[in-house]
Amino acid sequence: MSDLETPPPADPSGLGPEVKQSLLGRYDVAQKAGGLLAPVLTAVLAFAVGGLVVLVTTGKNPLTTYRAIFDGAGFNWFFPWVTGDERSIAALNMQQTLILTTTLILTGLAVAFAFRCGLFNIGGTGQYIVGAVLAVWIGSSFQNTNSLLHIFLAAIAGAMCGALWAGIAGFLKATVGAHEVISTIMLNWIAVFVGVFLFGLGGPLQNDTQEFIPISNDVVEGAKLPVFWGDPLLQGLHVGFFVAIGALVVYWLILNRTTLGYGVKAVGFNPEAARYGGISVSTNYFLAMAISGAFAGLAGAIDILGWQFRLSTNDVSGLGGGGVAFVGIAVALLGRNTAVGVALAALLFGGLLTGTSTRNLDPEIFKPELASNLTLLIQGLVVMFVGADLIVLWLMARMRRRKPA
């Protein structure tokens, strides 16, 4: 048929007609157009600007600084020529990085899943907190339960509670159209203060033996996740890591192999077409938020059962101002909402957070107090550059065009 050969409508931007679509549509196009290169470029760009800041403000060589962060994160463990003591330290650092990666994969998936339905779940914090609360409550109760059952119960309860928490926002969105950004932020603060109330002095879940410390009871030994790499006393890597890997697989399967994922994606890309197709938009909003919240709630539960073992009011209110759930946003953005992307971005941010922590960064090279700010700086830059990924794509298109000329 003739209309095949006619050229597509002209577009001066060079990005194709898709660019004018919804944010999510743009995102999808960017994902396909840029492939792996665009997010890598985004990260490199963020690191370059961060390095510039290091150079200008402290006069330190950014490369040695990054090298120190790299080692602090334990990434040198991958090098076979690193041996002896250096290798054992690298292993310890790597374990810390992977513990954080575990959390960030889950909080990243929480943001990514909602994103796929066209929703911005900024309430990972609240969902994480309620998940952690449930896990610490169940984990510190039922002294003599079968260990496997106990862990399973605590983790599932955490995930369910996260799902419920996010489900509130999803329900409000589906029924009265309340914007999920507003409602999830509000739910974050509600979760924070519920936590403060529960573990505060005299609170219902406050420690039974130390009545002047605003902290929960400890998770009983049987409910702690087994450590499979490193020493449990030195906070080795717990099996929650595999739960996160499993979550990545589940995420991919839901989106690509289930009718649920089909509906969620259809609503995310084009709610009007989904509605026309007979898909309930409001049901999918609710389900997407609930599943998203389950990932975040699971993150909270895994952290409690894997290495934190207790929750204090300080932990809870500290989360309110940012924390792992917020880093999840950067992880999802940089990972472009794909399973593999989220895994890699979580590893990057996990490494960055570990490598710049006071404990891990060589103070000779860079003041660790400043270094953690560097992490936040790079995190911010990544989010900004991802938001401006069309600039990166445009630059790439230009370079491509210039080459043959």
Binding site: M1, S2, D3, L4, E5, T6, P7, P8, P9, A10, D11, P12, G14, P17, E18, Q21, L24, G25, D28, V29, K32, N256, R257, T258, T259, L260, G261, Y262, K265, A266, F269, N270, E272, A273, A274, R275, Y276, G277, G278, I279, S280, A397, R401
Partner: protein, 512 residues
């Protein structure tokens, strides 16, 4: 117009490349004083690109433009306006709450003491121009209160107010009723008689032969030919446009209507703003017939279709599909009751552009076997079905896993068509099924709709194109302000239908 006329515009060897395509390839175009020069071509043939170059929106990669013999560089629309070029876009650029005169003078307002708007002067100047060119409009009327045809005149006046000598009319009849189109052609004659030159962009063959002095045909970015309108036939132009023989008239046998399939009774529907758009409408469709619903845009067609397909609540009345009352059913329920729906906006509603062709084809059925079982999706089955339908419906431009958004409009529509027809519906509601498609794709869609009729489905064709209604329908209903105001046979004239569409002869039943 005589051959001795002065050439007012000369575009020579214009080439414009976009990444991956050459939108204009060595196109030359000229315009003489007082002539109507039509620019004809399918979607994507390069008409808009050429005109956007003339209007300063794009810069040509090669070639030059001369206006009245002087080479010009048109960097911006304001440069083009200064050079005497005026453009009337297909979608009007008017502010609804302001008056006609305010809209016309906007940006170049007459003032008192250099600062205060002189509205009296504005009204006088607008009245003066509108009288000089016999473009009757009331300068003090608000845009939202006047008809689309009058709004178009305001757009023309806007250009004339800025002293345009060259007027570009982009698909000007697309939004008009037949009567309004007639009036527009008279206006065009009046303008050319006073020395204005007009570029008339269109893909409708009949009006091009009617209104133009010369015709330039573009195909795939290249100029095919410039020929005098005299002696050109619709068939010859179609061949130039498409590059092969095209069947312009739809060939179909007589209808053979049998069982009642779709019954709409006394339907009342409100739009989002709470205005009653469908007011006690009844219609029925039998197996084996195409019923055309003619009407001017905004007379309740959209709300009627949405209500019939479960996308909008019904305030009163019933919708019955093959005996099942589906009045309160969901969209999914309607599909399962045997309704197929080709939506009027395939990009906004008919397709998820980011999904592959295969995924789009599964849009209604992905929850059922064999696409899925117990919530588990089988993408390979989707792809197999997609591949089969791509072949069957001759979708070009990609395979089953190609993004739907990457296809041309005609091929996107074929995907929608394939999905709706392959489900084997009993009634097919086709809303503007050929909007924005070019001649070749229109031919395909029309043929397919007739085949569906002949296979015993009921088809409701809702279209703003009277010609399409007349050539496809076995029975024509006219909708006006949410009611059916007349039923006509397909031999009715465009004039008869046009009168009914504008509310004239209301309640009067013509020969059925």
């Amino acid at each position: 117009m005589t051959d001795a006329s002065r050439t007012v515009l000369e575009m020579r060897h214009i080439t414009k490349r976009f990444p991956g395509i050459v939108a204009n390839d060595d196109v030359s175009f000229d315009l003489r004083e007082g002539e109507v020069h039509a620019l004809l071509g399918e979607n994507g043939a390069g008409k808009s690109t050429l005109m956007n170059i003339l209007y300063g929106l794009y810069h040509p990669d090669e070639g030059e433009i001369e206006i009245s013999g002087k080479p010009v560089r048109l960097g911006t629309p304001s440069a083009a306006i200064d050079a005497g070029v005026g453009m009337v876009h297909q979608h009007f650029m008017l502010i609804p709450v302001m008056t006609v005169a305010e809209n016309i003078v906007l940006g170049e307002e007459p003032t008192h003491a250099g600062a205060f708007l002189d509205l009296g002067e504005a009204n006088d100047r607008v009245r003066e121009i509108s009288e000089r060119f016999s473009l009757a409009v009331d300068p003090k009327a608000r845009i939202e209160d006047i008809t689309v045809g009058q709004q178009q005149r305001v757009e023309i006046l806007k250009a004339l107010y800025r002293n345009a000598d060259i007027l570009v009319l982009d698909e000007p009849t697309a939004v008009l009723t037949p009567q309004e189109a007639k009036e527009l052609f008279e206006i065009i004659q009046g303008l050319t008689a006073q020395g204005k030159s007009i570029i008339f962009i269109s893909h409708k063959l009949n009006e091009v032969t009617e209104v133009a002095d010369r015709i330039t045909v573009l195909r795939r970015g290249k100029k095919v030919e410039t020929l005098p309108a005299e002696g050109a036939t619709e068939e010859s132009l179609a061949r130039l446009m498409v590059g092969r023989e095209v069947l312009l008239r739809v060939e179909k046998g007589p209808a053979n209507p049998t069982d009642l399939l779709l019954e709409v009774e006394n339907l009342h529907v409100f739009d989002d703003r709470g205005i009653e758009k469908v007011r006690g409408l009844s219609l029925d469709i039998r197996a084996g017939e195409i019923v055309g619903l003619a009407g001017i845009d905004g007379n309740g067609q959209t709300e009627l279709i949405d209500a019939m397909t479960g996308l909008r609540g019904v305030a009163a009345g019933t919708v019955t599909v093959a005996g099942d009352d589906v009045t309160t059913a969901s969209a999914y329920g309607h599909f399962n009751a045997g309704l197929g729906h080709i939506p009027e906006d395939r990009q906004r509603r008919g397709l998820v552009l980011e999904f592959s062709i295969a995924e789009n084809i599964a849009l209604h059925d992905y929850r059922q076997a064999p696409d899925s079982r117990f919530g588990w999706l089988y993408p390979r089955r989707l792809i197999e079905r997609g591949a089969r339908l791509i072949k069957e419906y001759d979708v070009r431009g990609g395979g089953a896993q190609t993004r739907a958004g990457g296809l041309s409009g005609g091929n996107q529509q074929k995907v929608v068509l394939a999905r709706e027809i392959d489900r084997n519906p009993r009634v097919l509601i086709a809303a503007q099924p050929t909007r924005g498609l070019d001649v070749g794709a229109i031919e395909f869609v029309h043929r397919r709709l007739i085949e569906e009729r002949d296979e015993g489905r009921g088809v409701l064709l809702v279209s703003l194109e009277l010609e399409e209604i007349l050539s496809l329908s076995d029975r024509i209903l006219v909708i006006y302000e949410g009611e059916i105001v007349g039923e006509f046979s397909p031999d009715a004239s465009e004039e008869e239908l046009g009168i009914a569409m504008t509310g004239g002869g209301r309640g009067q039943e013509a020969a059925a």
